[in-house]
Symmetry: C2
Subunit: 205 residues, 2 copies
């Protein structure tokens, strides 16, 4: 693992490099250059080389990166060499989409359970899982290996449910609700926020 402190804005780019490399590998490619990655991602080649150099020597000037090797190293750095079990909270549209989402395979994650508080949903089957009762969330997650949850409940309930997740031992929350969560500083929170991505694009329109 890295010995120096890596800036979080660099860490944020590593999964994007990983995704792009996995895409190239799926196309049958073995070698890539920082220039190519840069063009695919809209990031300068120099930035990519600088980011990766923080973690060691991955390629030689001019010969490019070995894609498989770099994928393995990035998986190791990002702690996704193993598969994490993930809980989904909220069995609405987004929750339904997540339990059958194709984009977790080979990326280090597997949905393992889903919760809802609606009595009409509890016990019904969704993407191969029986929907569990949110009232049992703390107990159920605490007695599992789960450290990661995806929060898809309505905005007005998100803070309360997030606090329950923390009580249950969850350390990382991916929040789909359009609300900022106030949680202890050792809890990692990321936001899925389509408006942020749209605004990034409208800058250029």
């Amino acid at each position: 693992m890295a010995e120096k402190v890596i800036p979080d804005i660099v860490v944020a780019r590593l999964p994007i490099y990983l995704r792009t490399l996995q895409q190239l590998k799926a196309e049958g490619r073995n070698i890539t250059l920082s220039q190519e990655l840069g063009e695919m991602l809209g990031i300068s080649a120099a930035q990519i080389r600088k980011d990766l150099s923080l973690f060691g020597e991955f390629g030689k000037q001019g010969t490019g990166y070995n894609i498989s090797y770099l994928i393995d190293r990035l998986c190791e750095i990002l702690n996704v060499g193993k598969e994490w079990e993930v809980a989904v909270i909220g069995a609405g549209d987004i929750g339904s989409a997540l339990v059958s989402y194709q984009g977790f395979a080979n990326r280090g994650f597997r949905v393992n359970m889903i919760f809802d508080k609606n009595p009409e949903k509890i016990g019904t089957k969704l993407g191969g899982f029986f929907v569990k009762n949110s009232d049992d969330l703390v107990e159920t997650i605490r007695s599992s290996e789960i450290k990661i949850a995806m929060l898809t409940v309505p905005a007005e309930n998100a803070q309360e449910v997030a606090e329950k997740l923390v009580e249950a031992g969850v350390k990382a929350i991916l929040n789909y609700a359009p609300i900022y969560l106030k949680l202890p500083s050792d809890i990692r929170v990321q936001y899925i926020d389509p408006s942020v991505h749209l605004q990034h694009m409208t800058y250029y329109l």
Copy 2:
């Protein structure tokens, strides 16, 4: 508007600053410091000051930023002073969630139409919209003001539908399918990719 070229990685942070400022404003706050924003976002205060200084003078050392003023300026910089009409392609779980998503209000976007190719969905009502036929996508979008689309079709159809969107005059695509889109370089593409956010967090676990 900015006269110099702003690095895209800075542009990417502006919507996140804007979201955080809007949150603070909603809490009744008038003034914030780069230190506070930094702590909320896990970005250094120096980085935030540096990013914002690219666009002008927004605050004086020690006195902080006027939140409402900075929100107005960021909306202007990101071109979300007006409201953009957006098309949703795919009336599945994600499409359903997007047509009734609360997080577009006051952020510059309004869903205006939704398409699907499934005859059982076409003509049914979803979040106040009648689902339109994907076969008419090019014609319908071309004769509208729409320049932005959110793509929620299955991965195997995403490239083909994205090309149709480009043909229809769309300039920015928010892609929910777990696949990299190959499109002309003047088309902006952003990805909603939960695995990327999860991997960002597992780095720290």
